[in-house]
């Protein structure tokens, strides 16, 4: 069953007086449980496509559906609820909240989702951190952890609500190659065990090689794999 359906999605930005086209009417279907890479050079439209799928912004034309919901026709609050319940996010810069500990960072999405009772939140966050190998860093703040550890916390934060889909924008770009591979292996392992759909962007060939499917973008259009 497809979890993501992108139909003729185009995105144009207005930079001052100039129109810049980031996506040129792309079509994409992602099936449940896929481990898919969006590849392409900088400016090819990878992040824009992930932003559309995540509901961070709406397409200028065309449609994006996640689990059957048309994101363009959904209110901001309903989109927030959809993200809290059904999506996880991993960012290039980790984007952890610096004032919270690792455990609190992972617990945060649970507070936004009504999937689990409040009494289980702490335990679920702890389990997620154990799963990414950070059981010894529960009370560390992001500034006290390495880049790889921070990205593991971010992955724990993404998986803790047991989402249907995890979007990762260049998750290894700020990590050294070995750490990047470890992170990808971790994501792959979660995908294999939990059947969670992963869509991640990268321009690292070795990382691409670990994906089930690679969709290549160039200048806002698919050139391979869609």
């Amino acid at each position: 069953m497809s979890v993501v359906e992108v139909r003729q999605a185009a995105k144009t930005y207005l930079m001052g007086q100039i129109k810049v086209t980031a996506l040129k009417g792309v079509d994409l279907t992602v099936e449940g449980g896929e481990f898919m890479a969006l590849a392409g050079p900088s400016g090819s439209g990878k992040t824009t496509l992930l932003n559309l799928i995540g509901g961070f912004e709406k397409p200028t034309s065309g449609s994006v559906r996640v689990k059957g919901t048309d994101l363009a026709a959904t209110s901001a609050d309903a989109l927030a609820s959809l993200r809290a319940r059904q999506m996880g996010f991993v960012f290039q810069n980790f984007n952890l909240l610096p004032v919270l500990t690792a455990l609190e960072n992972v617990e945060y999405p649970l507070l936004l989702s009504d999937k689990f009772s409040a009494s289980r939140h702490r335990d679920l966050a702890r389990q997620a951190l154990e799963r990414v190998g950070l059981s010894g860093h529960l009370l560390h703040r992001p500034m006290e952890m390495s880049g790889g550890q921070r990205q593991r916390v971010a992955i724990a934060r993404a998986i803790v609500v047991e989402p249907d889909i995890i979007l990762a924008d260049e998750p290894t770009a700020n990590l050294d190659h070995t750490t990047g591979e470890e992170i990808l292996r971790l994501m792959k392992d979660i995908n294999r065990v939990s059947k969670t759909t992963f869509i991640f962007s990268t321009h690292d060939q070795k990382i691409m090689d670990m994906a089930d499917r690679v969709v290549r973008l160039l200048d806002g259009a698919f050139v391979e794999g869609a």
């Binding site: 961070f56 999405p109 936004l112």
Partner: protein, 428 residues
């Protein structure tokens, strides 16, 4: 709970900036508390001076005397005051009463004459305070009680005060004495109409010069023993019974009790409270409170702008974090809540610090005392001992919290309207 945790921790991320903001809030609170305490003290000083020297807490007169009696005081004589005084003195809360015979006339030194407002008083019940040294003055200023068993309260600047055995003696208000260049020991002639309508005059000796808190009173007033006034006016009655209470706060309650009692006895009497008779005090109080309101307004705006600046800076610095929490599923109202909490927490902490610091400052200044020049309408220097009431502390805390909330509304709204994708890139 997590939102509040994040809000509190965010506040202390930039300690220097937060400390400056908290200091600004606390400083605003201290300024309001101090000025409020200072004004309250000045007003209390003024009020007590009026009560002690001029009005007492209550005055009882024949009906109509308060409105028409100034021009014709002799039309409102209470011929048999004994039973009335006895009833008043038995009323709970009443400390003492003193009968007065108020009249007006001309005072002459032989060469010059001026009009005066005379008060025939019972010297034993209206003990004057002699104050000729700085020690006497400080003692007088520190005495805020109504514990002494007298009504009195004029302060003798030179000469002596009236005594029970005195007959043809008078003490003169500072301004009145200055007008005719009268010194203690000088002879004066008091000329007035009697109750019967004829003219009468007595020779008297200026025994002392007094002052009160009210310049207007000191410029026209003199006091003679009640018996002298009665002889001069050819009456055995009085036209004014001054009532001193144990506590100023009981004024209204005692007034109501007396009014009921007078009604039972069918006595056609009227009662005025000290504040009804102290028009100048009431107007000064309004003026002080208006000034205080302006100060409160200015300080609240300063605090508001300070918190606004901090919150606005926070939104700019944390754009990426705002994008992250919205990406994770935080709704716009959740973002507003987060920043409103931060403003609220700043307001609460700043308000608490301000209340504490204000209390310490007030206590310190009050212990030392500030020598002050005469307040409006007063004739003597005084020592300010600021003492803000509890409601002032509540007010500054409330203002601080409201300022915290109000100043964070716009930054919070601005944060909640950020586009997620743009915010994630760190652009506001």
């Amino acid at each position: 709970m997590m939102t509040l945790t994040i809000a509190i921790r965010n506040i202390f991320r930039h300690r220097t900036r937060t400390l400056i903001t908290l200091f600004t809030i606390a400083f605003g609170c201290v300024a309001i508390i101090f000025v409020h305490g200072f004004f309250e003290d000045a007003l209390r000083e003024m009020r007590d001076s009026y009560i002690k020297a001029i009005t007492g807490h209550l005055q009882v007169c024949k009906r109509g005397a308060f409105d028409k009696g100034f021009a014709r005081p002799l039309d409102y004589i209470i011929d048999a005051p004994k039973d009335i005084i006895s009833l008043i003195e038995k009323t709970p809360g009443v400390r003492v009463t003193s009968s007065r015979l108020v009249f007006s006339g001309l005072m002459s030194t032989g060469e010059n004459s001026v009009s005066f407002l005379g008060q025939g008083v019972e010297p034993q019940k209206e003990q004057s305070v002699i104050c000729r040294s700085s020690e006497d003055f400080i003692k007088l200023m520190r005495d805020r009680s109504f514990d002494k068993p007298d009504v009195g309260g004029v302060t003798i600047e030179s000469g002596d005060s009236l005594e029970a055995k005195d007959t043809y003696s008078a003490i003169l208000g500072k301004g009145l004495a200055k007008n005719l260049d009268i010194k203690p020991g000088d002879s004066i002639v008091l000329l007035t109409n009697t109750v019967g309508g004829s003219i009468n005059a007595v020779d008297a000796k200026a025994k002392g010069i007094f002052y009160t808190g009210a310049k207007a009173f000191d410029d026209i007033a003199l006091r003679v023993p009640l018996s002298t006034a009665q002889t001069l006016l050819r009456t055995e009655g009085v036209n004014n019974i001054v009532v001193r209470l144990f506590k100023t706060e009981d004024t209204q309650r005692v007034k109501e009790l007396l009014e009921k009692a007078f009604k039972v006895h069918s006595w056609d009497l009227e009662i005025r409270t000290w504040d009804e008779m102290s028009d100048f005090y009431t107007k000064t109080k309004m003026l002080f409170y208006q000034q205080l309101f302006i100060l409160e307004f200015v300080m609240t705006v300063v605090v508001l702008l300070s918190i606004f600046s901090t919150m606005n800076m926070a939104v700019l610095e944390r754009t990426s974090e705002i994008g992250t929490i919205m990406a994770l599923g935080t709704k716009r109202r959740g973002v507003i809540k987060l920043f409103m909490y931060e403003g609220l927490v700043l307001g609460i902490i700043g308000g608490l610090l301000g209340m504490g610091a204000g209390w310490v400052v007030i206590k310190m200044v009050s212990t030392i005392g500030i020598p002050m020049p005469p307040a409006p309408g007063m004739t003597f220097n005084w020592i300010s001992q600021p003492d803000a009431p509890a409601k002032t502390y509540v007010l500054v805390f409330f203002l601080s919290v409201v300022a915290g909330l109000v100043s964070s509304i716009f930054p919070a709204y601005k944060a909640s309207r950020l586009e997620i994708a743009t915010a994630l890139r760190g652009n506001a």
